[in-house]
Amino acid sequence: MIEIENLSKRFTLHNQGGAVIEVMTGARLTVRPGECVALTGRSGAGKSTLMRMIYGNYLAAGGAIRIGGLDVARATPREIIRLRRETLGYVSQFLRVVPRVPTRTIVAEPLLALGVDAGTAHARAEALLAMLNIPEALWTLSPTTFSGGEQQRVNIARGFAHPYPALLLDEPTASLDPANREVVLRLIEEAKARGAAIAGIFHDEAARQRLCDREIDVTAFAPARAA
């Protein structure tokens, strides 16, 4: 489902003397349907960079990222927008929303974008919010003033509203209490069971042990630095 070959990434900092920083080379990774793969490596090793490239948020310098027949490294913006709408979900650590939009609508948005009718989309959103223990009194409020843990759960609810065939998870259990952590782990297990291909960053080691079939240490993709 997710197939990465010989992927490389460099940043050219034009306003800092044109410095060119090679951050990744020869990255390869395959995630099959129903499989969960953990990206590991010390902080700064390139886990987030790789996730962002898979999502089309960072441009690849070379190589291929094939997801359901589309090469994200070469795709047009329009193709990536469609991939994100239908195929590839991303639960990031941060919630970025228009202030004022009610929590329930934020969670329903991925379904509304797919043309699901408002009633069904909102019902699914409410079920997820209830499952993740967001009090009903908060559903009609914007999450911008919620606590970090609540925002994280709203983000997770949004990421699981549509059953994406491929999912990227960036520390999905960070800042969650044990009860909510358990709910999230079950959601991920359910996604695996229905055949989703999942790649993620899990600093929570017990969660990683329980969910992941394999680990890929991204340190192996770091370019050799000239001494």
Binding site: H14, N15, R52, L59, P77, R78, I81, V98, R100, V101
Partner: protein, 263 residues
Amino acid sequence: MTAFDRTLTASADAPLLSVQDLTKRYGRRIGCERVSFDLWPGEVLGIVGESGSGKSTLLGCLAGHLAADEGQILYRGHDILAMSEPERRLLSRTEWAFVHQNPRDGLRMGVSAGGNVGERLMAIGARNYGAIRNAASDWLTKVEIDPGRIDDRPRAFSGGMQQRLQIARNLVTAPRLVFMDEPTGGLDVSVQARLLDLLRGLVRDMGLSVVIVTHDLAVARLLADRLMVMKDGRVIETGLTDQVLDDPQAAYTQLLVSSVLQV
């Protein structure tokens, strides 16, 4: 309206608007130069850049407010620049809409709120007073203006309300393509958020295609699917909105993105 039969469904596989090498000069100075892009149905294209970058000139040429010197604009396959003036006017009253930064440029300040909305319907042949008033009242509700104020003049409205009224006036004829010039420009931040939320909902529910000019990268991030970055009249970078903002490639875009104060 023969050339733009409404029963023709716009193909999702064909661009709604296709622009080739559009150029506008002011004497020897460049307004915009060799701009090309395609816009598909339901897509929001953001044009960003500093003042003087040519983004408003480009928007003016696209909407027919300014005469382009060279290039081609195809709308649903029809060559806009080769059209007669009456044909183009019909288009801007029906399938196109233009939201100005300053609501006073897009509204008739001496006419009631209901009149402002109803006028655009009358321009395309609506004659039944009751139906026009109902449509106007519906649209006031959609843009969150109390329909009880249908007979008030826009002068009595706040800036944010005037902007929402301008949007209602523009969208009442169910256009396909909307041009927006800094629509949140003159508004307080809290009022901006409300307008952004409203615009996002309308874009999604009506399947609108939008070309929006803004210098506000936060507005671009929340509204646009794709971005075009302009400098000195030229397009220097294009791409998916979050990719251009998070991994900008051109020197100027990197400077633009890094100059924004983080909150």
